[in-house]
Structure formats: structure tokens, C-alpha cells
């Protein structure tokens, strides 16, 4: 597996491939990170593992900056899109307290088209986009026809602890994710 060295943004958000989120950048070391990311290859959002998980391999979301703006109070806003998940190792900290690590790509779910049950998730997600313009604006391309895309977006949005969500970074977890979502969105 080829590895690449990238800056690390330690932040407990759950972001699967193609997921987009908006970050507000404030600290000096992360402004530096953004400037590096714009010149080079993006950065890695790495949720902080709790103590039980220290033994596990760390998985982060390798993101690219797709848009930037300023908030009304003058802070730098960036929209980032997850390119792929990565395994993170050999973390180090530079003189500005910015973390860097060697990362290698990690495969996630294969692309799956919507079927009868996932079509309901897709319609429900579409309704959410219509109701929430801020969320909708983040996604120029909404792949509502792809079950894998729809399920991933739902998992990101659900009010569930990130430590539980993280089970779904595994490549073989699509069916479990679908079942999990059915229990919440479609239960009779």
C-alpha cells in the first residue's frame, strides 16, 4: 500500500467517502494546515479514539477543500469532501503543534444501486435536503440513486455517538449499516 504524509485535523466528526462538511478554521496551526492542503493533497480529519480503541488501527477521512468563504464574523470557512478513508500511522507533531501522519488508503463499501428498501432512505434524505438548504448546498451532486451514497449520508447525520458510527468504516459493513438504518427510519 502506498503511503503519503498528510496534516491531521483532530476532530470528532464522522465522514465517509463523498461526505461533505463545513469547518470553521480558527487556530493558527490549522490555518497553516489549510494553506498546506490547498497547495498539496488535502488533509485528514481524524476522530479522536477513546481509550478502549487505542489498540486499534486509526481510521481517518482524507478530505479535499472544495470551497471556502468567510463567516459573518470574519472567520475562515472551508467545505471539505471526503475522498477516501485512510489508515493513519506514525503520527508526529511539528513546531507549530500541527500533527502529521503517514496514511494509506483503505477501501470502503462497493457502489450499490438503490433497491426497494433503500429507496425509502433515498426519498427521506431528499426530503431532508429540501427542508435544509444549508445541508443541501454542500452537495452539488446528490447521488440519490446510489444506495451506498444514501446510507453513508444518513449515518453521518444520525444522532448516534461517533464511537458507534465508527463501526461502519469497515469495508464489509454495508449490510449492517442498512439494517441499522432500517431499525431507525423504517421500523413499524
Amino acid at each position: 500500500m502506498p503511503t503519503i504524509n498528510l496534516p491531521i485535523f483532530p476532530l470528532s466528526i464522522f465522514l465517509l467517502p463523498d461526505g461533505v462538511t463545513r469547518l470553521r478554521i480558527f487556530e493558527a496551526r490549522y490555518l497553516k494546515m489549510v494553506s498546506m492542503a490547498m497547495k498539496n493533497n488535502g488533509f485528514v480529519v481524524l476522530p479522536i479514539a477513546n481509550e478502549e480503541q487505542v489498540e486499534d488501527k486509526l481510521t481517518g477521512s482524507w478530505v479535499e477543500i472544495i470551497n471556502f468563504d468567510q463567516s459573518d464574523d470574519g472567520l475562515l470557512l472551508i467545505d471539505v469532501r471526503c475522498k477516501e478513508l485512510v489508515e493513519v500511522k506514525d503520527m508526529s507533531q511539528d513546531k507549530d503543534n500541527l500533527h502529521h501522519a503517514n496514511v494509506s488508503p483503505k477501501s470502503h463499501w462497493p457502489e450499490v444501486s438503490v433497491d426497494e428498501s433503500t429507496n425509502k432512505f433515498s426519498r427521506s434524505l431528499n426530503k431532508l435536503f429540501i427542508e435544509n438548504t444549508e445541508l443541501s448546498a454542500l452537495y452539488k451532486d446528490k447521488h440519490l440513486e446510489q444506495a451506498s451514497w444514501v446510507v453513508a449520508r444518513w449515518l453521518e447525520l444520525l444522532p448516534v455517538n461517533i464511537n458507534e458510527k465508527r463501526l461502519f468504516v469497515e469495508s464489509g459493513s454495508f449490510d449492517a449499516a442498512k439494517e441499522f438504518l432500517q431499525g431507525i427510519i423504517l421500523a413499524e
Binding site: L11, F14, A28, L158, E179, I184
Partner: protein, 208 residues
């Protein structure tokens, strides 16, 4: 913080000292500022940002002796540059002088605001809320480096507290999910609990 106050007026001289002007492409900076003013050109702003950010950060850091406050000075300064680029007139002075003057004013405003906030005696009520939503974040204990800084953060309005934490909460609340699915909150809570229980059971089967 008041002790810093008295030292500040002297820093403008250092900022515009000739040692910094040797290798500056002034016409490029002017061009960028015009593109920002006329076309709202983000690329040009990136250029200006990249040029000034490290310098402003370094100067503010040395004057305020606080990384987070220096970052705020940087953000406010660059935001003013973006908003006020149309006011820049290259016949009246260099782009660097204009930007550093903005920076000086921003720094004074910030110190004034902090002084005023100190007397407001704000309660801790808002802070634990943001904290509870995001406890995992604290594993990196250097994120907030000292109690002193924490004190400053506590006096910030809520939206700026989120800024310190670095992101928007994109995740839905249980209430939002209940409204979206048109179900009572209690149903959502029990569905989440059940689904998580099943998930753990399933994983237990695989792992044991």
C-alpha cells in the same frame, strides 16, 4: 491582559520597518486587492492571505503572547481586507501599510472588547452545553492550552465558542430527526436504543 495594552501602540513601527519591504512584490499585492474589490476574486484573496497570514500571525503572537488571540487578529484583519478592499487607494500608500493599519485597528478593537467582556461577568451556562456535545475532542488536551485561555473563551459569544472547537454541528439532534420522520421523540429514542442494541449484539457474535 491589561498589561499587554500599554505595550501595543509601539508595534506599528516594527510592522512597517524597512527590513520587510525588500522582497515584496508591491504591484502584485495592489493588483490582488483590486481584483478582490472589483471581482470579489477568491484566488486573489488567497494570494493576499498567503502573503500576509504568516506575518500577521507572527507579529500578533509576539505582541499578544497568545496563539488563539493572534489567530483572531489574523482572521479579523483578513476579513476586513476582503470587505474593505474597495477602500484601498494605491496612490496614498503601499498595500502592506494599508493591511497593517487594519491589523493595528483590529488588535485595539479586540483588546477593548475583551476588557469590556471582563466586566460582564458571564456565567458558564453556555459553555458546558457545547462541551457536552463534543467531549471526545478534549482528548487532545493541548487544544486549549491553559486555564487562562479558557477564561477568555468563556467570554466569547456562543458562535465564537464553536469556532474555537473548529466546526459546525452538522449532525441532526434527536428532536430534528423526530420532526423529520414525523414521530414522537420517545419513539426516536427507543428506536435508536434498539438499533444500537442489535448492532452490538451482531458485532458480539462476530468477535467472540
Amino acid at each position: 491582559m491589561q498589561s499587554v495594552h500599554s505595550e501595543l501602540p509601539s508595534h506599528q513601527a516594527a510592522v512597517t520597518s524597512s527590513s520587510m519591504t525588500n522582497k515584496i512584490d508591491h504591484s502584485q499585492l495592489c493588483q490582488w486587492l483590486k481584483s478582490i474589490a472589483v471581482d470579489r476574486d477568491k484566488q486573489a484573496f488567497t494570494g493576499v492571505f498567503k502573503f500576509f497570514a504568516p506575518k500577521i500571525q507572527r507579529i500578533a503572537q509576539s505582541k499578544l503572547n497568545n496563539e488563539a488571540l493572534a489567530a483572531e487578529v489574523l482572521q479579523d484583519t483578513m476579513s476586513n481586507v476582503w470587505r474593505k478592499a474597495h477602500l484601498f487607494d494605491d496612490s496614498k500608500g503601499a498595500a502592506t501599510t494599508w493591511v497593517y493599519t487594519i491589523m493595528r485597528n483590529v488588535t485595539f478593537d479586540l483588546l477593548r472588547k475583551m476588557k469590556a467582556n471582563k466586566e460582564d461577568n458571564l456565567s458558564d451556562d453556555i459553555w458546558p452545553l457545547a462541551e457536552a456535545l463534543n467531549t471526545e475532542d478534549d482528548s487532545f488536551s493541548d487544544h486549549i492550552q491553559s486555564r487562562n485561555l479558557l477564561g477568555v473563551i468563556e467570554t466569547l459569544p456562543e458562535n465564537q465558542q464553536q469556532v474555537v472547537k473548529g466546526f459546525y454541528f452538522m449532525e441532526m439532534s434527536q428532536e430534528q430527526l423526530a420532526v423529520h420522520l414525523n414521530l414522537p421523540l420517545g419513539t426516536i429514542k427507543s428506536r435508536l436504543r434498539l438499533a444500537l442494541g442489535k448492532l452490538k449484539l451482531k458485532l458480539g457474535e462476530h468477535h467472540d
